[in-house]
């Protein structure tokens, strides 16, 4: 066979092969959605589940519930954490020891820091008889004494969406005025968790904080000395 013929055959085979290859390539390119990385839709989805967490925190300011130093001159003296100057005329104090001078800064702020709404309960370890009168029978029987709290919603709209716990009608009284604190074990205590304060305490950035304020009515006959009280907040996811 002449070399030129051989060369021609080789060239034809090469061109045929190249044409075949071209056809295969064109076919593959036309089926673009089978190529890795080609997005058939312009949106993708990713599945991720964020674990739920119930998380609350007390934010206690430097001067929260700080009434300074003073004494009772007339029965009873009233101290509270809401209305400046935070004491009445029956409370005797000398600047710079009065509540306004020491920078009295309201009550306890409680924030829902988790990512679920919660049912909120609050209780104390003491009530008026034990905290103010130190269980003294004479003080309890004869003196005007009280240990009250009230709750304030600090949300932009409302941090607590259901303040009507017993569904009788209207928000519970402790959301608008002073009520006796709830000591653990007293009738107000729900299942050992304390007073049911809020059914649906929200976890939104703008609506997740409430404040607990306190009022003390202190009689002259109240025994002197230090008393301790623990305020406990309990949170359970609202299901």
């Amino acid at each position: 066979m002449k070399s030129s013929n051989l060369l021609t055959i080789v060239a034809v085979v090469a061109v045929a092969f190249a044409l075949f290859n071209l056809l295969v390539t064109i076919n593959k390119v036309g089926d673009l959605n089978s190529i890795t990385g080609y997005a058939e839709f312009d949106t993708g989805t990713a599945d991720v589940e964020i674990e739920s967490a119930v998380h609350i925190r007390f934010v206690v300011g430097e001067d929260a519930l700080d009434w300074g130093t003073g004494s009772v001159n007339t029965d009873p003296a009233t101290l509270d954490s809401v209305t400046s100057p935070y004491n009445d005329a029956n409370w005797d104090c000398t600047p710079p020891d009065c509540p306004l001078d020491v920078g009295m800064d309201g009550g306890l702020e409680l924030e829902n820091y988790g990512n679920v709404n919660v049912d909120l309960y609050v209780d104390t370890t003491e009530n008026a008889d034990t905290f103010i009168c130190d269980d003294d029978a004479n003080c309890i029987a004869t003196a005007t004494h009280d240990f009250n709290w009230q709750f304030e919603d600090l949300g932009t709209t409302a941090s607590c969406t259901d303040k009507d716990i017993d569904d009788v009608g209207g928000d519970e009284a402790f959301w608008s005025g002073w009520e006796d604190v709830c000591r653990s074990g007293d009738p107000c205590d729900v299942g050992g968790d304390g007073l049911f304060v809020c059914d649906e305490f929200l976890a939104l950035d703008t609506d997740d904080t409430i404040e607990i304020n306190f009022q003390l009515l202190v009689p002259i006959s109240a025994p002197a000395g230090q008393r301790d009280v623990i305020i406990t907040a309990t949170a359970i996811e609202s299901l």
């Binding site: 674990e51 739920s52 967490a53 119930v54 998380h55 609350i56 925190r57 007390f58 934010v59 206690v60 300011g61 430097e62 929260a64 519930l65 700080d66 009434w67 300074g68 130093t69 003073g70 004494s71 009772v72 001159n73 007339t74 101290l79 005797d92 306890l108 820091y113 988790g114 679920v116 050992g192 968790d193 003390l216 202190v218 002259i220 006959s221 109240a222 002197a224 230090q226 008393r227 301790d228 009280v229 623990i230 305020i231 406990t232 907040a233 309990t234 949170a235 359970i236 996811e237 299901l239």
Partner: protein, 380 residues
Amino acid sequence: MNKKKSVINFFLVFIIFLFLMEGVFSLGVSPSSKQFNFQPGFEKIINYRVLGIDSDKELSLYVSGDLSKYVKLDRDSMKGPGEFSAIIELPDHIENPGPNKIFVAIREEVDKEISTMIAVSVVVKSIIVIHVPYPGKYLETKLISSNANIGEPIKFDLEVISRGDEDLIINPKIDIFSDQKLLETLVFQERDLASQEKIKLKKFLDTSNYNAGEYKAVATVNYGGAKPSIREADFKIGDLSIDILNYSKKIIIDKISRFNLELESGWNDPIQGLYADVSILRGLNELVGFETTTTQLTPWQKKTIVGYFDATNITEGFYDANITLTYYGKDKSRTSNELVKIEFIKKPFNMMIVVYILVGLIVLVIVLILLRKYIFKKKK
């Protein structure tokens, strides 16, 4: 010195200064809840994570609730953030049908060595719900709807759970109402639902033929029970509009006066650059014009905007005021006008001042009469 004065002068010193620890007292637990369908001899280990607590804080762990005797914790105390486990081992039979709740509690212990009169403490509880089947057929449903603007679809999520011990065949539908008038029904296909099975269904409502407004969706699921399961959800269809809810109807003359305008967005997206141009008219002529502050509204938000103007040259009486609102939503701008009536009044006379003066005069006269009587008597 009389007895009363000596009592008042007698001090029983009761020094009260409340020490309260400053700072952040925080506690969290994850997961916040878990739910399981009861099966005889059910066993499960749940791992919990305690968070948001200082590393030196003591914590106590405990279980309470309906079935707490069937749950054990791998420890009953810990310090600082960390993990623990709850082991659930249920019996072959539980008496109470329905949701039985177990609480896994973490309590922050108060440091008794630190002297403080008021201390705070936090308790968080994670719930474990064991769903024990009711006898026979029992269905739970939940309906969630979204809001949208005209032309955008409204999505309905319908969650259906069989809580009985019998398998079911369900036929769900969603009726759309406006002012109690049925507009449309979205029908789902018939499905089998096994005992304790949960499914999530969805449907979309085409709102292109709907007007802006408030609507109600009613989901009805027939399952062969005594009554169908019915759930309702309200939803809104919006358009780029703002309603004037209220405005200052009475303005005091002879001073710089404040004008309040309460507005509500009827749009399911944010509205930007909203302000009002107010023109107070005498006949067809503008007496005074002013602009309010510029603001934005979130979807469906109500807000009050304020403007100030000089009312010193205005006389008493009723005037027309033209309120023009200008605002932007997505890539559209809109203006709207409303003509309202405003009354300009003089500063009202405070009747209480007269009452106080009269009472004061009467008291003074009585005091003078009494004084005169006793002085006169004494002299005699």
